[in-house]
Amino acid sequence: MTPSPLLNVRGLDVHYGRFQALFHVAVHVAQGEVVALIGGNSAGKSTLLRAIAALLAPSAGTIVFSGTDLGDLKPHQVVALGVSLVPEGRHVFGSLTVRENLLVGAHSRRARNAIRQSMEEVYELFPILRQRANIMGNELSGGEQQMLAIGRSLMSGPALMMLDEISQGLSPLVIKAVYRTLSAISRTGTAVLLVEQDVRRSVSVADRVYAMVRGRAVCLGVPGSLTEDDLKKACFGFELQGARSSEGERS
């Protein structure tokens, strides 16, 4: 564990009305690290990402990003600090062109040259987007939309990128291509927090893996040490034995 992680979530509780979705969640991501968050449906994975992005207000706990408490910030301020979320279901702006989508992604930045450079980088990462620059978002295929959603997020120049279910509804070939770019992104020093149903895929690129079960996060450790059985249990929501509780880990 690095001495001061880039993102440090501690004791996080989130409620939807009376329903508690997250229980004392502790997760951290170091600079340049790829962390996978696995778990079944409604385990709280997306809730955690949304809380970090400040779309949800936690009822207890702290979220610290590179020394700044995100507690009272609004989503746009979190983006400006360098945290970017690629939302589940892509949410490309259908009535905007590909180029405009990318420019919207850079909304928090003012320097025109830096924006232009980021756009070049995105186009290099996803050459298809350059070809389709002036096409409306809703005319893209699912895979292209996913590339656009990732590219759009990159435009804000994030130090931490969070991706929610990026392989959903995509063909295996496209998924493979998308994951290849993930590795490229992490090589540039951007930390990645990845939420996936496709466990094997996400674990294969991760430096570290957390499992979420019924609103609680458990650190499973490094992928190499994980057996197929561990992963299955994590996904189907069984109690995990031998894994360290994330609560005990830091106290």
């Binding site: 992005a53 779309l55 609004k74 989503p75 746009h76 983006v79 400006a80 970017s84 979320l85 939302p87 949410h91 702006f93 259908g94 009535s95 905007l96 405009e100 420019l103 919207v104 992604g105 909304h107 928090s108 759009r152 804000s156």
Partner: protein, 289 residues
Amino acid sequence: MTDLIQPIVNGILLGGLYAAVAIGLSLMFGIVRLINLAHGDLMITASYLSLVMVEQVGLSPLTAAVMVVPMLFPAGFGLQKYVLNRALRRGPEPPIIVALGISIVLQNVLLLIFSPDARSIPANVAVLAVPVTENLSLPVIYLMGFGVGCTAIAAVHVLVRRTRLGRAIRAASEDDETARLMGIDTEYVHCCAMGIAVTTAAVAGVLVGMTFTFYPHSGPQYLLIAFGVIVIGGVGSMTGALAGGIVLGLAQLVGAHVFGPGHQLLCGYLVLLAVLAVRPHGILGRANS
């Protein structure tokens, strides 16, 4: 038939002015799905402010317009920031009621200050006309209204299509949450959009004040016209606004010509009701809104 040409031409020209009345309302409805029921009253407030500038300060109508129009941007911005955004967070009904409340407050403030008498902004151009043929002449004030209306539409169009703020406005109107995830402060964007909307209303208000007489209670009448323009022309569509304005302008002036001047408003309303009955979300409107 030949005597119909004049009302038809006037109706088309009036349509440009009506489009200018409507674009701000259309812009806001496209973004927050809210018909700002105080739109007409904000417009009439601008008419009264210009009247004060002309009558009390002694400025020319044009100078008055240049003074008044920018004053209303912060008014719209603040209204959105401190009142409407708060109501919007509480669900779909509160903003309707709050906007109506603003309308009532504005009307009665104007009534207290200016009395219920009919007023108009004195302008020399109001009586000028360009003769074309012996049956047809173009009133200069209507030409101005049409020209300014088209200019305002073009300006808003460019702003929405070509600028960073416009991009943010479109993103926020399509998907508010994702826009926030992209680093857009959507509530701030709403405030800016409202500022722009009220600014366009002010432009329209100055023109209306020079073209017609107005009262403290004239606002709702123009709100209904603007609503009609949106319904006919489609939400958020700037060219649609011009088309809608022309349809309503024609309905009113041709109707007044055929049935008598008392029926001018009635004919416009009936056309609008017919459109609403057939296409409850407008002719060019999106069905899902």
